[in-house]
């Protein structure tokens, strides 16, 4: 059930009314009915596309739930046993329990990852296997066609995050499976994130929430803002550039630039618009969700960009891949070996861990070399920034006035945006050969004529997308300039103006747009 469709509107309206009813009925008040309503809503929402998807959600969450309970049992048993043991025996008992827990963790992670890898990557691996065998003269045609359950990549990561935290002893395991399922399948985040931490979201899910007009209004405004980004900007730009990105029409010169910049804006409007709807809906129910965007296109470097774009994915990789890698025996030993060379001791292990992290981020986005290359591309910028850090630092110290000036900051923002846009040429097609064709055509002639021809008949699309981009830019500039100040954001009259503008725009785009707005770009990942 996509957020931009009528069934979702009806679904959410019914849920919204039912959700607050128990707080007004004396014998239901304080009985914790809301969280069970959310669970039912989650299952209806998720099964809407296909009940078959529930098998994956159920299997993955049950596996993690079972493993986490085992961790809890082992910890409790060890604690009881240690109470009557001497210090040396205590250490031995803890080591034995630690090994047992590690074994369970590895097995559970392998199984959960297998549930992700088989439907998402089986076809990709077989295609590559056919190609490799073909290179040795063995003609094969291994094929498999599996439907990728919606949101699988996202809830697999949330499951892993929860499991690892229980393993680390950060919090005890949840004993009620259905409560755990309520968290993992929470409808605003199950399909595209944000990747909410269990310890942040779960208490809010279990709490009883009374209707709050201010929260409901703010939430609704956020939903409208998300719908506006999706309808007025993302789908309109999609109409213009999708024929070039799918290879239906060959893009030349300036058109390739238009595709790259257009896709960057489309992706931001689409993905952050989805987040606005998800966070807005959740806020209307009184439940806060993690923020996933922080005006990323105002970043002054690639590493900063990734701290501001898809924030929860970056945080997930940092906590569950990068930190464990850096703390692993191998990289710790390497750091200690290089202790005398301070620079190398810091840079070498970091670069190795980052290389692996970015390879994983590339693969996570999809089963094509285009996504892997996109991950490697961004990884190279992040690693170079870390390697060249002493140079940057010296440069900033030597030219403090220049590097603190507004024109220099704008130059850094534009440079980062250009790097991101070029990276999208690798990513947007989802097909490596098509991406290389696009990049190869970057300096081809005929682009200006192609754009002029594209304009004819598409005036309305250009106009609406342009208007939407201007409004988005104004909102993001105000946010960027005021986010560190005490009085943040817009004044109340500006908010009312935004309400009116959004209402009119959504009615217009919803009624007259020819584009299909029911699909979001990140569904495919």
């Amino acid at each position: 059930m996509a957020f931009t469709t009528l069934p979702f509107l009806v679904f959410f309206a019914i849920l919204f009314v039912l959700y607050y009813l128990p707080t007004w009925i004396p014998f239901l008040k304080g009985k914790g009915v809301q969280k069970w309503l959310i669970l039912i809503a989650n299952l209806v929402f998720y099964a809407w596309a296909s009940p078959y998807f529930l098998i994956f959600l159920g299997a993955s969450s049950l596996l993690v739930y079972g493993a986490s309970l085992l961790f809890g049992r082992i910890d409790k048993k060890t604690e009881l046993a240690c109470a009557s043991l001497e210090r040396a025996e205590k250490k031995l008992a803890k080591e034995k329990a630690g090994k047992k827990k590690k074994g369970i963790l590895i097995l559970a992670l392998l199984l959960v990852l297998l549930l992700l890898i088989v439907p998402k990557y089986a076809s990709f691996f077989l295609e590559n296997l056919n190609a490799i065998l073909g290179a040795f003269g063995v003609e094969t045609d291994f094929k498999v066609s599996l439907i990728l359950p919606l949101g699988l990549s996202f809830y697999t990561f949330q499951n892993i995050g929860y499991l690892v935290n229980v393993y680390w002893g950060k919090y005890p395991p949840q004993k009620n499976y259905f409560l755990y399922l309520t968290y993992i399948s929470y409808f605003p985040h199950v399909l595209q994130g944000p990747l909410d931490e269990y310890e942040e979201l779960f208490p809010a899910l279990c709490e009883e929430h009374e209707f709050c007009r201010e929260k409901a209004e703010k939430g609704l405004l956020r939903v409208l803002w998300g719908l506006f980004k999706k309808w007025a900007v993302a789908t309109q730009i999609g109409l213009l550039i999708s024929p070039y990105l799918s290879g239906e029409t060959e893009a030349l010169g300036l058109t390739v630039v238009l595709c790259a910049v257009g896709y960057a804006v489309q992706m931001y409007a689409d993905f952050s618009g989805y987040m606005d709807i998800a966070i807005g809906c959740s806020n209307m129910l009184g439940i806060p969700l993690a923020e996933n965007f922080d005006a990323p296109y105002f970043s002054t470097g690639v590493a900063e960009y990734w701290r501001r774009w898809h924030i929860t994915l970056g945080a997930w990789f940092r906590s569950y891949v990068y930190y464990p890698l850096m703390r692993s025996k191998g990289l710790s030993a390497l750091r200690k070996c290089l202790k005398k060379h301070k620079y190398l001791a810091s840079v070498l292990p970091t670069s190795l861990a980052l290389a692996l992290v970015w390879l994983c981020i590339g693969f996570w986005h999809g089963a094509d070399w285009a996504y892997v290359l996109h991950g490697v591309y961004h990884g190279l910028f992040v690693i170079s920034a870390s390697v060249l850090e002493p140079l940057y630092s010296a440069y900033h110290k030597k030219f403090p006035k220049l590097t603190a000036s507004v024109p220099y900051r704008i130059f850094c923002i534009v440079r980062t945006f250009a790097i991101v846009c070029f990276g999208y040429l690798l990513f947007a097609t989802g097909d490596i050969s098509l991406s290389f064709t696009l990049i190869g055509n970057l300096f081809a002639e005929g682009g200006a004529a192609q754009i002029s021809a594209l304009f004819v008949g598409n005036e309305y699309v250009f106009f609406s997308a342009g208007l939407g981009i201007v409004l988005m830019l104004v909102v993001d500039v105000v946010y960027e300039l005021t986010k560190k100040k005490e009085k943040k954001g817009f004044k109340s009259w500006q908010i009312y103006l935004l309400w009116i503008l959004l209402g009119i725009a959504i009615l217009l785009f919803g009624a007259y747009s020819e584009a299909d707005a029911s699909q979001f770009l990140y569904f495919q990942f």
Partner: protein, 79 residues
């Protein structure tokens, strides 16, 4: 070891890791107060603190430390 003593030693480590002699950490200092304190420098910082105080932070502490005060708590307990 006294908390003040720990904080003093931590201050030296912070200045060294972030290459900034103007840093003065307090128990309330968080990663948002120091410009270069990101995920990359966090691990270097953790390793330097471990070496200095001869302790080993648990992973839940590495990912969950909210401010320098929490770091001092752990060092006080473990060292």
């Amino acid at each position: 070891m006294e908390r003040n003593e720990i904080l003093e030693k931590l201050n030296e480590i912070f200045r060294d890791v972030f290459d900034d002699d103007s840093i003065t950490v307090t128990e309330e200092t968080t990663s948002s107060d120091i410009e270069d304190w990101d995920s990359l420098t966090h691990i270097t910082l953790i390793s330097e603190v471990e070496d200095e105080f001869d302790i080993k932070f648990a992973m839940k502490e590495v990912v969950g430390m909210k401010n320098v005060g929490e770091m001092v708590d752990i060092i006080e307990r473990e060292a």
